[in-house]
């Protein structure tokens, strides 16, 4: 029998798991840049000595997290993801990426509001650059889960891997893609959700949900296309190349600027490095900001990213 889908925010899933871990692991600190979540109230109430609201100060959030990390604590630094990754970028570079090369630091940057999930808030709160800029930094694991199950599993991974990490979470409640008891292989970094014949979509984050819908539409027309969900932006290259190499055509779909170092660049580089005989296309935001209210679909329409647009890219002539 099919498992019931549960709709939940990634942030609540991750914080609930961290909360559980804080009971048995007194080395965990949770820092927030004055940013909340329903699940965070329990952390604040039950662990006042290990919960710190640093205020609306993302730079200091990362600096304080670094200091605690240098002293051997496991730190979660929580903020709106665009501000966490971009306001504090140089703090991340110097105090995490550079520093951890000589001294271990287990700081986990947990950002909420990936892509355009803060849809009506406008472009300051959209985050279409983070995968690209975080991938540029050595020594930072960049994670982009598509559902609350993956977000939940990040916590065990983060505790056991003593290095800086960045995880970008969608702001909206979403149904699980992975089964409730699924084991997420972070070293592998991706998962093949559907096997197809000729065409394969590679997606990350929220776009994995949209890609599932596209796969289903193709399926209704009798065509099987594959779908690979990438949740660690430094996936096992050999394994991913083997998976992609099975197809004739690969199209990346991401909620980020295209041709700017994001998921598309990762896959294209893999195709080049491994000399894979596959054709490539990419779907993402063009290089301009979207000033549109009305919700995610309206933004997608304005950006030429409606489902119809995407299907057109996938079915166009690839020559």
């Amino acid at each position: 029998m099919a498992e019931t889908k549960i709709i939940k925010t990634m942030r609540d899933a991750i914080i609930e798991k961290i909360y559980d871990q804080m009971h048995c692991n007194d080395r965990i600190f949770f820092l927030s840049a004055d940013f909340g979540a329903p699940a965070l109230d329990k952390v604040r109430d039950d662990f006042p000595e290990r919960f710190i609201n640093v205020g609306i100060a993302e730079q200091n959030l990362v600096n304080v997290a670094c200091g605690l990390g240098l002293e051997g604590f496991i730190v979660y630094a929580y903020a709106i993801t665009g501000f966490l990754s971009m306001r504090a970028y140089e703090q991340i570079r110097v105090n995490l990426a550079l520093s951890c090369q000589h001294r271990p630091i287990n700081v986990n940057l947990v950002g909420v509001g990936a892509g355009v999930s803060y849809d009506v808030a406008g472009p300051t709160h959209h985050c279409l650059e983070d995968i690209s800029i975080m991938r540029t930094l050595p020594n930072i694991v960049t994670c982009s889960p598509c559902d609350w199950v993956t977000a939940d599993r990040f916590v065990d991974f983060s505790i056991n891997h003593n290095m800086p990490k960045y995880i970008r979470l969608d702001g909206k409640p979403l149904p699980n893609v992975y089964s409730h008891d699924c084991i997420i292989n972070w070293q592998k970094g991706f998962n093949s959700l559907y096997k197809g014949s000729d065409i394969c979509i590679v997606s990350t984050g929220y776009m994995t949900h949209r890609s599932q819908e596209i796969v289903h539409e193709f399926c209704e027309h009798g065509e099987n296309i594959g779908l690979i969900d990438v949740f660690n932006l430094a996936p096992d290259a050999e394994a991913l190349a083997a998976e992609i190499g099975r197809y004739k055509k690969v199209v990346t779909i991401e909620e980020g600027f295209k041709n700017r170092g994001g998921l598309d660049s990762l896959i294209l580089q893999l195709i080049n490095e491994k000399r894979l005989n596959v054709k490539f296309a990419n779907i993402g935001f063009d290089s301009r900001y979207i000033f549109k209210s009305g919700g995610r679909e309206v933004i997608y329409q304005a950006a030429g990213l409606s489902k119809k647009d995407m299907i057109e890219v996938i079915t166009k002539s690839w020559d």
């Binding site: 600096n63 240098l70 140089e90």
Partner: protein
Amino acid sequence: MNKFQKLEDKTKWVKRELLKLHKLAPESRIASSLSDIEIFVTLYYGGILKYNAQIPLSSERDRFIVSKGHGGVSLFPILADLGYFAKEELRKIGQSDSFLCVIPDTAIPGFETINGSLGHGLGVACGIAVALKRKKSDARVYVLCGDGELNEGAVWEGVMFAAYHKLDNLVFIVDNNQISMLGYQKNILGLEPLDAKFKAFNWEVLTVDGHNFAELDSALTIFKTKDNNKPKALIANTRKGNGIEGLEGHPMSHVMTLKADRIDKILEEYDG
């Protein structure tokens, strides 16, 4: 004998070593490294800092962050003298087989953090101070910051954080040498009244002559004994390029270098 004779002797030696380092690596910021020598000497030889050169990351050590990395070159001879690394390393500064860059980082034994990108030290120190309190450690965390570095906004995020969280195990030393890269700080943004700023943020503040051992020792000793729920700021008024004619107080001293023959002449004068 003068109580601080040893510190004065060490300072003369550090200054000589600094000049030799500058001769080998003219890219080093000599003026910036001359204003903080007495601060380093007091911390390391004056019984202020707890350290263990054999175990640089011993848990009991006081943590010292040289946030103004440009002025950290004068700490190299001190760390070598104390045994963090061999003195021969000093002669290799800037060479391909040396870990001594002109802006220090954690590749050098004795340095806690990556330095030189300004405005990071205090925030990191805040995290360390929270961690030390959590561990119920008696160790303290010291930060050396330039006055020009105070222009960085992130410093003030740390200033607010430290006071709110009552980090009285944190000592923030401002090397107030008055000059940043393009001239006098008073002509750039102006920081005065600096002590009033820290007091307004609920810090404990002392102001000293940063080249005077009695004053430095007295203030830093007071700070060590005062667990009054307030972070401590020491404003050390110093002279950029201290003691070198033409360099001291020059508005462009930050980017000025001393030529090799000039360094030789100064060293001869010191020896004479």
